[in-house]
Symmetry: C2
């Protein structure tokens, strides 16, 4: 069974994604992680420490994911777009942590730390995409499309009727330089 510390971070992520920052009281996080509030505060001395813990884990997972983008059998763009689309997030992967942290891109005090962590993730993704797409404009375009999909996931907006991710991907492939 996972350690209490990891259970707390997992519960925090889940609550952030499913119910938003407003619902992530220490009480609620502790309950979802099956620890008491006191137990939670033993591992994370304050709510800020909890946020910091989440950001640290995001950075770790981002590095791992950059490697995954590079070695994706289907190609970097395909891997990136698929994991960005609604439902494409894998437990234990970056996408989940990324979506959770996106919801924190506000909290006045820790705000700068959050934005810094997100900037690192964006930069690592961009570099990984650049390895397949030597054209910088195209790499940026691909990343923006992925971010657009993230935003749709974030807001729960339905996709346009009769359009799927695979159709989008096929179109983007047609813009890639042929090997």
């Amino acid at each position: 069974m996972a350690g209490a510390r990891d259970r707390v971070l997992d519960a925090y992520e889940t609550l952030l994604i499913e119910h938003g920052p407003g619902s992530t009281t220490l009480d609620a996080v502790a309950a979802a992680a099956d620890v008491s509030k006191g137990g939670l505060l033993y591992h994370f001395a304050s709510k800020d420490a909890l946020v910091t813990g989440l950001l640290d884990r995001l950075r770790e997972r981002s590095s791992a994911d950059a490697a995954a983008i590079r070695s994706a059998p289907d190609g970097a763009v395909a891997y990136y777009i698929r994991t960005s689309a609604p439902g494409g997030a894998v437990p234990g992967g970056v996408t989940r942590s990324y979506l959770a942290v996106l919801r924190l891109a506000d909290s006045t005090e820790t705000g700068q730390a959050v934005r810094d962590a997100l900037a690192v993730v964006h930069a690592e993704e961009y570099d990984a995409l650049r390895e397949e797409l030597t054209d910088p404009v195209l790499a940026w375009l691909a990343q923006l499309v992925g971010d657009g999909l993230y935003l749709r996931t974030l807001t729960g907006t339905p996709l346009p009727p009769d359009l799927g991710v695979e159709e989008l991907l096929a179109r983007m492939r047609s813009y890639l330089p042929t090997e």
Copy 2:
């Protein structure tokens, strides 16, 4: 001078964008709008009513903006991408209200109302883009790029080095069917 009611909504928008939902206490909003808390609560009986007021204004502005997209001299895509980019928001326009509401895409209770309002905006934008881009996949792609730029604005992530919006736009133009 603007009525107190509008001043309150403007202040609420600004606080949401610049400091996030966590900082939008009734006290803070009232102070920023130069009214007392009691004065604010005269116009908006509760915090939920304040959110509803913001959503109503977003819907009004969205309809106005859809018309602006259609009649943009530079073309629908160019107008949409430019106003989505960091710094491209106009006071009184949709973009500002949209960015403010994006930060609310969590608040458990009013969450569904927020998502509904955002879905309306997305649908109106998409329809307006479709008028220039008859190809649905391309219209969706353009919208996702714009949303990606919104997300960058939201998180304050810097753009990739040596890349500007105009370069991005030029590339997208090359994908448009020639008239």
